[in-house]
Symmetry: C2
Subunit: 230 residues, 2 copies
Amino acid sequence: QIRDAVVALLRDGPLLGVRVVVTAGPTREPIDPVRFITNRSSGKMGYALAAALAQMGAEVTLVSGPTALATPPGVNRIDVETAAQMLDATRAEAAGAQILIGAAAVADYRLHTPSAHKIKKKTDTLELSLVKNPDILCELRRAYPDLFIVGFAAETERLAEHARDKLARKQLDLIAANWVGEGRAFERDDNALHVFWNGGERELTQKPKADLARELAMLIAERFRSRTGA
Amino acid sequence: QIRDAVVALLRDGPLLGVRVVVTAGPTREPIDPVRFITNRSSGKMGYALAAALAQMGAEVTLVSGPTALATPPGVNRIDVETAAQMLDATRAEAAGAQILIGAAAVADYRLHTPSAHKIKKKTDTLELSLVKNPDILCELRRAYPDLFIVGFAAETERLAEHARDKLARKQLDLIAANWVGEGRAFERDDNALHVFWNGGERELTQKPKADLARELAMLIAERFRSRTGA
């Protein structure tokens, strides 16, 4: 039954002409000209999703933090470094888009005042004062109430509870959650996802990220069509 | 005259059988299971140096932080993540070595207490308390008084003054200094170095890192032989 639906969707070119913005990779928040705060995101999931969506006929723009990955065929890529740059680029690109997928591991905090010169190791201790970055998906929801927004949740504990909470709080249309820490997900080539939406959920079992991305892209197309009644 | 000296050194296999430890790349200091502090080092200079030294007959061990680079032919590579891990591995490897080259961009500070769980973005601000990491070259000098130690200095201001100060303070045998910030050196494929030692200095002009590494390796061999009277 699921297989029939998948085959039907594929035959119709499930996202033909739909404009999708995907954020991917980590961001870097400068401490000084050489040091920065970042995270273990490789960008693989976002890039694989962008590739899968393009194969399904979507017009995909990838807003990417620093990664070692090649741009997928047919995908338009915009490189950014900080969360603030990612927000600006995503807001601009989402203006004419129908779907936004926030696969980037955006830094939650940035330095209050990055140093213009390299900090010398003069003192035995150093206090870094961070301030919260704007939440890209919340900002985009506010700017574009009708955008179909997909979020991710990387959790080390109580996955379903945290994911459901994030879905509601950020007014997302779909959230894909996975376990992290101790060798899971980040910097790995395979992954598993538990996907939640209002009134439903689906488990996507452990598999290579490229295969998982295709499954998730199909689910996104299904939920997007269901919401828009297409 | 310099060319004659270079040719003579090459003919003799200038570092045949000499054991060299090279540190390279950035280190990562964890904030929590997914976030960390790091820096813009690509590891290219250290890897190029390791390759050049191996070509000159040295037995090279590369103690490397996370990079996207391939291990040079004939080089033994040990992967580490934090500064503490790099210190331990370097101390162990330097036990039987004659030369240590500290090309890694080791984090000067680490989190006092990394979080075991991913930090939630509950508060508008976040204070990170850092403590100084042990200085790898100072620790190695203390452990091995006769080791020929080469350091690097990446500076955004007053390069010669800072490099000379570091040479004396850390009791190095040689220091290679370069300008950083605003697109210089880090993550670039070419670079320039100003090399200082007790009673001398030499400028190595802007060129691809692989070529620069060969020049620096020759200079290291020259100074090492001069010191040991070989």
